[in-house]
Symmetry: C2
Subunit: 629 residues, 2 copies
Amino acid sequence: MKQISVKSYKPRGFIGRYQHLIKDEVIPYQYEVLSDNIPDAEKSHVIQNFINAGKALGGEAAGDGFYGMVFQDSDAAKWLEAVAYSLAVFPDKALEEKADRLIDIIAAAQDADGYLNTYYTIKDRNKRWTNILEGHELYCSGHMIEAAVAYYEATGKDKLLSVMEKNAGHIYDVFIKGGHKGYPGHPEIELALLRLYDVTGKEKYLELAKHFIDIRGVDPHYYEKERQSRDWTVWNGDGRNHEYQQSAAPVREQRDAVGHSVRAVYLYTAMADLAAKTQDGSLKKACENLFESITKRRMYITGGIGSTVHGEAFTTDYDLPGDTVYAETCASIGLMFFMAKMLSVSAKGEYADIMEKAFYNTVLAGMSLSGKNFFYVNPLEVVPGISGKAVTHRHALPQRPGWYTCACCPPNAARLISSFGKYAYSEKGDTAYCNMFAAGEVSFENGIHLRCETEYPYGFTVKYSVIKGGKIAVHIPSWSEEYKLTFSGRGTKAVINDGYAYMQVGDGEEITLTLDGGVKTVYPSSKIPALSGCAAIMRGPLVYCFEGVDNEGDVLSLRMIADSEKTALREEILGGTVTVTLQGIREKTADGLYSLKKPVREKVRIKAIPYYMWGNRGENQMRVWLPEA
Amino acid sequence: MKQISVKSYKPRGFIGRYQHLIKDEVIPYQYEVLSDNIPDAEKSHVIQNFINAGKALGGEAAGDGFYGMVFQDSDAAKWLEAVAYSLAVFPDKALEEKADRLIDIIAAAQDADGYLNTYYTIKDRNKRWTNILEGHELYCSGHMIEAAVAYYEATGKDKLLSVMEKNAGHIYDVFIKGGHKGYPGHPEIELALLRLYDVTGKEKYLELAKHFIDIRGVDPHYYEKERQSRDWTVWNGDGRNHEYQQSAAPVREQRDAVGHSVRAVYLYTAMADLAAKTQDGSLKKACENLFESITKRRMYITGGIGSTVHGEAFTTDYDLPGDTVYAETCASIGLMFFMAKMLSVSAKGEYADIMEKAFYNTVLAGMSLSGKNFFYVNPLEVVPGISGKAVTHRHALPQRPGWYTCACCPPNAARLISSFGKYAYSEKGDTAYCNMFAAGEVSFENGIHLRCETEYPYGFTVKYSVIKGGKIAVHIPSWSEEYKLTFSGRGTKAVINDGYAYMQVGDGEEITLTLDGGVKTVYPSSKIPALSGCAAIMRGPLVYCFEGVDNEGDVLSLRMIADSEKTALREEILGGTVTVTLQGIREKTADGLYSLKKPVREKVRIKAIPYYMWGNRGENQMRVWLPEA
């Protein structure tokens, strides 16, 4: 199975509105941030870094030098990639010109041998490739390769692609021909090289990606040796935490998802893609084990991953606190990447389920409804006074800031949302796959052409008008306890296999899928200590949460009566949404911390909103899970 | 009100058994640890440090040098203090000789000018008094002063007292006459100097204690300036975290209990003692505010304090997680010190309540029933696989180790338990106070002499036989919803005031107090996010907990039916205890992390044991709080 190209999907409905928001608000806003024109946001300087690197290469003084994280370059790459996807869907000459100018600036920052990284070019060219552990050179190249591929696919322009092919060639020379023993500190280039291979067909990129994957963890002590061999560090990493960088064992022997969660899922994405491309059974098995580890033991109900701020990392099985959680936006984006590639390994609905869960909850929660504020961390419980304040909760902010010093998440969300089509739709041979529901028109390379009408994720009827027919596979989400498929074509039948309904449909026919739109109560495994006695609410793919503003300012004193009748109601709050009300109990406890007095308990209606919309109405309490009465 | 001297209480019953355990097992075991004769325990080297310091002062090479924490000396001091208390109650010639030999070794490690600290004497005498932030010289002196006072009171021998008076004189010269601007990094010497003042009556010790308390936080930047003035550190402390060391403001302006919890309560103990001694109203008010902050907003049900491992510290109001908690044993010991001194400020039962709560739960839990294993951290929830393993839970061990690199808690528990009498009993003028119930005989300086018979904390009848009568005040614990006082003397009446029953009783009379021995359900404030929907069980002062070994190995799937009938049963497990069983529900949840399937719920009897006994039967799940069904 392969993902469609972004331009093959013309969005409408919910996804269309989000992609318009990216085009109209997010991309322009982020360009201003990257250009340091937003006074209240953290300084970026990323474009100036490229300009300064170009000056340094031209023999001039490097302006005001380098500013930012060692991986600052990647913020520009992710913005460019988002622009590419947006242009693929919504052509925009002015935006394209802006992107072309940035590409010119980036191209001018490339060294004669193909090397491209402003941190080292400005600060010290002699340090190149000496710090693979922390240095992020391969990571930044990976992101710029992704941008180049996307921009080429969207616009047909190959300037950045040429730059990055030359850069990839340089990396090939260093690591393959030159025998450099390093493997990526922050995986990313592996998945990017596989995309470069897809678009160019050049085997050397496949070879290089495979090399980086194969040698990872074969010598788990590589990073420590590297540390000892150099007299400088970025943030004093000593390379001894092998789990952190997924290097404790060769990747084919890894069983548990460990360490920095973004690094983990970026690596697993490349592993899955390589397994599909090369029919590598042991790699496929490793990916399946890691999928199980994440989704059966280490994932939040929101599709968030990474339980701790310490190393932005996975911890141990069933350790899923909602308040001190990390659940980085980028990690859930990476989980979607991983799932998309797992679908290319095996067309199983469970991968589409997780992709959808991550998208509609954590990924969308990462951005405010205005498109101008962003969460890095996505807690499932917020208590003003504790969240963002107590030393253990300092990272779990109760409100979205405008930007971050470490600004990986905002542009990552932009590129993901604007490329939604390639996650929603894919194809394999003569079969068109609908993995997620996305209103609009989609055309597949195999000729199939569909129009999808739906109000998903708020409406649960999905109608496919078949413009050009063939074999179509539609994912039936596992949360839908009941569903109905109807066809305008007499005699059309669906065969269900691994979560997909496979159908042969003719031109002009219609498929109507009706999903279960009921409000569901979700019960956690008793193995999760943080959730004992609790329940949550979902409707469709949307996890719901309780905010103070809808519940008399106090969510902590609420319990839910899980069996009570639940009412889903279209409301005009938050730009239009569907709220859920149900019966709950409010407890009035005695004064003091602990009391022998039984709380006074009162039945009340309690109201929930979709989790992805939380924190858009000022600072207040929020909870996904409530104790069950 | 002043505490009785330890030798005035002859223990029996529960306290007697614990004090015998300290004498028979803990003190000998700890001496072997301090002498490095226990192969499996962490190395101590503390006695050898004193020997080596003595050699260095005598002009010899300092043996194998210094080993351990910068405050290693204090482990010997706390052991000596525990020995003094034990000798006060159980004279033991061999033990006294062992202590005398150690005192000789310590005395030989004192410099000619009175300075005494092995770290600096062995490593670099030029560094003396240059690092008050981290250096612990005042802290170690404080502990040795406490040992000297206790040993003098127990044995009448004044060798160590003379050594420490000379040492205190040296400190007076440095800080008062010499104008050194530092104030204790780790408060301790303040409370010790006040004890030295009590026993010697010398005003200079009161003056020095008052000086350290008064200047604290007046210049909050003292530590930063000190850091800048020296070229060495112990653990790279930069002094900027003013909350950590309670130096953000002068002590009389402090409202919230903040920072390192042991430092906090040691400081507050001295503040309260000074407030009582000097009738300092603003200091008294500050102590009352800090008491409120701790007990109304920042304390665990077990009397544990300090919610986080980061800085071993208080966090924010109502942030009381049971699994990532710190609740250091020493902090609850310090809380008892603070409460004992608050009683000397005002005879209020609430101080005795907290003292008792800390003792019977966290302090006793700090030591195994064998007396040979110790907790530093006292969690309220333990889940093997997460506790002690996940990076956020690494400090919350599921089992007590034999010793620690930082071994403050084990000898601290020994000295507290062996001196229980002076917390249980105190006096003011002609009134004898019984703050906690302790079987045995007690004589007061005012001539009152009582014999107390009780099986407390498991039995709830407390009988005082009055050998020599007078005015007696008996604390009525606030947990006792009902109680009955009866008197053998006709016409005896009790006047209740602030949690104490005041009675005038004659020689030969008897007082019988019958407390409420029922099993109680405790409900947490709804402001504590970690405890939403939960309840706990207490009987008398004992908080109960549920361990896996009593509950089919799985506590996480249990809920409690709080209203159900509870059975307290004397059992022979754990050396004899009273268990509590009640009705609960066991939930069998579906496979996977989250499910739409309602758990299968089955009524079961669930069993709890006293919290202080947890972890004595191997590694297993443990919970104090269970979700309420």
